[in-house]
């Protein structure tokens, strides 16, 4: 799973979010390292919807503008969980090999 995809799924893990909120969340989560462009975000939404990892969770009009909310599906939650565990496992192994375990706790 590519990093932007991982971040999009992570941003939706706390509950339904609309496009701009997801972009902001990703920027915060990545400490400013990743700033998704709108086109990239909606390309990711299209792909993840097609893969049934996310789904629409309703829409509202705020100040005359349409906001559509997205949320994780069960498959999306399971996929994000599996990917997170895989990343944690690799990170732990990297830390162990570097002999950094003592310094991190």
């Amino acid at each position: 799973m590519r990093e932007p995809t991982f971040f999009v799924l992570t941003a939706l893990a706390r509950g339904p979010r609309h496009g701009y909120a997801v972009m902001q969340d990703i920027e915060n989560l990545s400490e400013g390292r990743i700033r998704l462009r709108t086109g990239t975000l909606y390309a990711a939404f299209d792909r993840l919807s097609e893969q049934k990892l996310i789904e629409s969770a309703g829409e509202e009009v705020v100040e005359g503008r349409l906001r559509r909310y997205y949320r994780l599906t069960e498959l999306g939650s399971a996929t994000l969980g599996a990917e997170s565990r895989r990343r944690v496992s690799i990170s732990k192994e990297a830390i162990r090999r570097l002999g950094l375990a003592g310094g991190l706790s």
């Binding site: 799973m1 609309h18 496009g19 701009y20 972009m23 462009r37 709108t38 086109g39 990239t40 975000l41 909606y42 390309a43 299209d46 919807s49 097609e50 893969q51 049934k52 990892l53 829409e59 503008r65 349409l66 906001r67 559509r68 498959l75 996929t79």
Partner: protein
């Protein structure tokens, strides 16, 4: 509507109409909310353009080969494919082929052009179908002026067949929809 919205809305035309009807307004909202204080973000416009082209491409790919082509259009495609084979065989084996690099290359390029035309016909797109007819008409017209053009009268039969099949082709095009009809559902 603000000037900012108007500018972004213009760029949303990079997307096909069917996609804009589903996602256009929410993308516009996100663009406006994410816009920098000093106006439009050029990078956003570039990414919108790229994504729009990808969506158009994806719709074409999903339409490709769907339905049954009218017989005359099918025949035109087969003739174009035959011309591809003739040109590439000519490039490979003709006595003046490999020995004459420019003629050799021209045969390969013309073959590729015919491949592109055949694919464009199969794409179930009004625009591409019209583009093929326009291209063939222009090359035919040019061949009267410049007798060195390889297309010459070779293209007249597929051109006539395409014109004959125009109405049936247009009527047979499946309506566009988003998401495409046969989505790929395999998670990566």
């Amino acid at each position: 509507m603000t000037d900012l919205e108007r500018r972004y809305r213009r760029w949303l035309r990079a997307y096909p109409l069917v996609y804009r009807q589903v996602r256009g307004e929410e993308i516009l909202s996100t663009l406006v909310e994410a816009a920098p204080a000093n106006g439009v973000a050029a990078k956003d416009l570039i990414y919108i353009g790229i994504h729009g082209l990808r969506v158009r491409g994806s719709l074409l790919v999903h339409r490709f080969g769907q339905g049954t082509l009218p017989r005359s259009v099918h025949s035109a495609t087969l003739i174009l494919v035959f011309m591809v084979v003739v040109n590439w065989l000519n490039a490979a084996f003709a006595h003046n082929g490999p020995k004459n690099p420019s003629s050799h290359l021209a045969n390969i390029v013309v073959g590729l052009v015919f491949v592109a035309l055949a694919l464009m016909i199969q794409a179930w797109s009004r625009f591409l179908y019209a583009a093929v007819i326009g291209f063939l008409m222009i090359t035919m017209a040019l061949s009267f002026v410049n007798s060195d053009l390889i297309f010459e009268l070779n293209a007249i039969v597929p051109l006539i067949l395409l014109i004959v099949g125009w109405r049936r082709y247009m009527a047979a095009i499946p309506p566009a929809q988003w998401p495409p009809r046969s989505p790929r559902t395999v998670p990566s």
